[in-house]
């Protein structure tokens, strides 16, 4: 219905996509050629290892970390962790991977890469175990579809997305259920500051996060159960979001699939740019986590909004579009369908600029028309929220209006106390009232909204698209890794050989085996 308001030239759009594919190509090859400690740990989690070594001197170390680290010490990871682990399981005569992990911690297991018939047997056992994990993921997907059919989707678009972040999962449950009762369709539990830089996933229910709550399998389970309870009460399926980012991105993706999370923050470059994680580590982990999300029926949310908090939202508008096109390509390559691509963008233009709202409309409409089938995620102002809560409330109202006028799909509710305090109960309530008012008063205004073909909005959108094509050309020529190293996105310079977690990247050997990747790429479940 709204398609074509900007009169974008299909040739130019096709060129942009072609260039994005060309820029992304070498990176996909790189991702295929490497594995990481996190991908191998994620594989073991799918195979059924849970829990942590609580006897270790540096606190609870997850069993998957103990096992992967030991395998790496004994025989390297270039053949994957699956073969040595399942070979050792038979060799030791153990029945469960947890027993194997305990024996590993006690120093009783010596790992090697099996050959010949032993190799075939280990590969078969590994595939069977990982397939069992993936069938749980498949069952969760089917269960979600059943529950959505039973309780229904939200009555309106955009879906209303709210963040809770108390640090204590039990408090989060109270806040999340209240938010759902007040109209939230999607609940995101923001993670504890710095979790993205931990090279392990904490265990159990947690109560002491810093400005957020740790992502753990148990916390995922608790929150999903709480949202099921409130979904039944409010008569719509309330979705749960967490963050598959940072050094444990593949593992978090697996845990999300195992606990029926519905959306995951998952950006191809965020960790590189904003957390200084090694680019190759990120792209390898990215590809695996997206394959898991594709399988689990999870909608990913990309993080382009972040660029605009560092770069200028007018000058850097095209970098958002470039990143959206790259995220789309990487997503498709990993098996995600359009309906799973929650590409991000944000309302971050300086409100003191003349025509700032018209520019916001142009950018938002451009994203809408470039990605007509993607559930676009529309992010509220943060950079120009000053602590003047009254002005902030007005700005959020305009943000909501831009969202409904340009047909955005997922609307992250802006808080007038952004940058002041973690939102009060009342801040959230007022923010939802703001959204309700705009939806009620102007929800169908898009029907009457026809930007002038030669007007400001259309021209601005065309300008951003043409800058996008120029930049993509440069990236395709120079290479994406060089563009990232040179500070193209969010003004951050990140060289390919720098950043955290690079010691966890391993070049695959000829005989590398990973049953998870095989099952994910073929779609098989046995």
């Amino acid at each position: 219905m709204r398609r074509g308001l900007l009169g974008l030239d299909p040739e130019v759009v096709a060129t942009a996509r072609r260039l994005a594919a060309r820029a992304a190509g070498p990176v996909v090859e790189l991702a295929r050629a490497h594995t990481t400690v996190a991908v191998e740990r994620a594989t073991l989690r799918l195979a059924g290892i849970t829990g942590a070594d609580s006897a270790h001197r540096s606190g609870d170390v997850p069993w998957v970390n103990r096992v992967v680290d030991t395998v790496r010490e004994h025989c390297g990871l270039e053949h994957g962790v699956a073969l040595p682990v399942f070979h050792a399981l038979t060799e030791q005569g153990l029945t469960s991977l947890t027993e194997l992990a305990e024996a590993t911690a006690a120093g009783q297991v010596s790992y090697r890469v099996p050959e010949g018939r032993e190799r075939t047997r280990a590969a078969r056992a590994a595939r069977a175990a990982v397939a069992r994990g993936l069938r749980t993921v498949d069952r969760n997907r089917a269960q979600r579809e059943k529950l959505v059919a039973r309780w229904g989707d939200p009555a309106q678009r955009p879906w209303i997305y709210l963040i809770v972040a108390t640090g204590d999962i039990d408090e989060d449950v109270v806040q999340a259920q209240n938010a759902a009762r007040a109209g939230a369709d999607v609940i995101a539990v923001i993670r504890s500051t710095g979790q993205s830089l931990l090279d392990y996933v904490p265990e159990g229910a947690t109560h002491h996060g810093f400005a957020g709550t740790y992502a753990t399998q148990e916390n995922f389970r608790i929150m999903r159960a709480a949202l099921d309870e409130v979904s039944r009460e409010v008569g719509r399926y309330v979705r749960l979001t967490n963050y598959a980012s940072g050094l444990c991105m593949p593992e978090i993706a697996v845990l999300a699939g195992l606990q029926r999370l519905d959306m995951m923050l998952n950006d191809s470059m965020y960790g590189i740019l904003f957390r200084d994680i090694n680019p190759i580590r990120t792209f390898v982990d990215q590809r695996f986590s997206r394959q898991v999300h594709a399988r689990a029926g999870i909608i990913i949310n990309t993080g382009e909004d972040n660029y605009l908090t560092t770069a200028d939202a007018v000058d850097g508008a095209h970098t958002v579009t470039v990143s959206q096109l790259l995220n789309e390509h990487f997503g498709h390559e990993a098996g995600l369908a359009d309906w799973q691509l929650g590409l991000g963008h944000a309302f971050e233009i300086n409100p003191d600029l003349p025509d700032s709202f018209r520019m916001e409309l142009a950018h938002a409409l451009l994203a809408r028309e470039l990605f007509p089938d993607a559930p676009l995620k529309w992010m509220p102002p943060t950079k120009h929220m000053t602590g003047d809560v009254f002005r902030g409330y007005l700005l959020d109202g305009f943000f909501n209006l831009a969202g409904v006028l340009t047909g955005q799909s997922i609307l992250l509710v802006g808080m007038m106390t952004e940058a002041v305090v973690t939102p009060f109960l009342s801040d959230r309530d007022l923010a939802l009232a703001n959204v309700r008012y705009v939806l009620g008063a102007a929800g169908n205004l898009a029907e009457d909204f026809r930007p002038e073909p030669d007007g400001f909005i259309v021209k601005r959108a065309h300008q951003v698209l043409s800058e996008t094509v120029d930049l993509l050309e440069r990236i395709a020529d120079d290479g994406l890794l060089n563009a990232i190293a040179g500070g193209t996105f969010g003004l951050m310079r990140r060289p390919a050989d720098g950043g955290r977690g690079r010691e966890g990247v391993i070049v695959k050997a000829e005989g590398y085996r990973n049953p998870a990747v095989e099952l994910l790429e073929t779609g098989a479940s046995r």
Binding site: T193, L197, M385, L425, D429, L491, M492, R500
Partner: protein, 298 residues
Amino acid sequence: MTTTILPGPVPSSAATEPTTGPKTEPKIASTTGPTDQGAAERDTRKRYVRPYGDTTGDGMVQMSFTLPVPHGPRAEGAAQQLAAKMGMDPAMVVHAHPIGPDFTFVVVYGSVTHLVDLDEVRVVEREFPLLPPTEVNATIRRTLRRKLTVVGACIGTDAHTVGIDAILNIKGFAGEKGLEYYRELRVVNLGAQVSVPELVKRARAERADAVLVSQVVTQRDAHILNTREMAAAFREAMGEHRPLLVAGGPRFDPMMAGELGVDRVFGRGTTPGEVASYLVHAITTSPAEPATAGKARA
């Protein structure tokens, strides 16, 4: 800091004017209502002030809050009582609505009975001006003519990088971007559990202008001991030419810098912008710095 513009007789009411809210009894406060101040107040109104609604001295304020009480007359009465205890008289609950079954949000307008004595306003003086990132960058370019190198770490056994990451990572804290965001700052974040000798070695190798250490764990005063050890190690290894030393963490008291042997201590709630502004201030005003820089880079 003295801000008296018009010294004059203290109005009789000021002597009885409570300066803290919670203890205020409306009964006492009501004897000093805005209308019975008389000529004395007009003389001294620049020293003694009240909030301004639409008339000088009306004391009008607005306030909103949530009570864990179901919506209804009882919630509004409770709001009224709280407002009165906070020194609002009269207080008007102009709006109330339920948030879920257990909470009520209220908006209250009213006149506060308190007076502010500007003579008694004490402001914690920051010794440096807060600069926006562009100015921080410009100042560094102008005065150093090179990037300013900052080395950050969590020292000792402390694995809590929350603090140092909030200050250094571009992601930042409290809506402010971290030091990595500043074009003219070169940031080397060594991460967690860095030993003091390692830190000294890296700071020297990177030619650090400033070293930032973060300490969250405070068991048995670990944060104090670690920081002292670090300061001593830098003194010993580099003497006069040591980098600027900055310690930060939620349990540090900014008054402790001298005692710890560092140049500055930042406590809870410090934002990256404050640290960046301080670095620029300290390095551009410290007389030792040009010599150090010149020598190190000769």
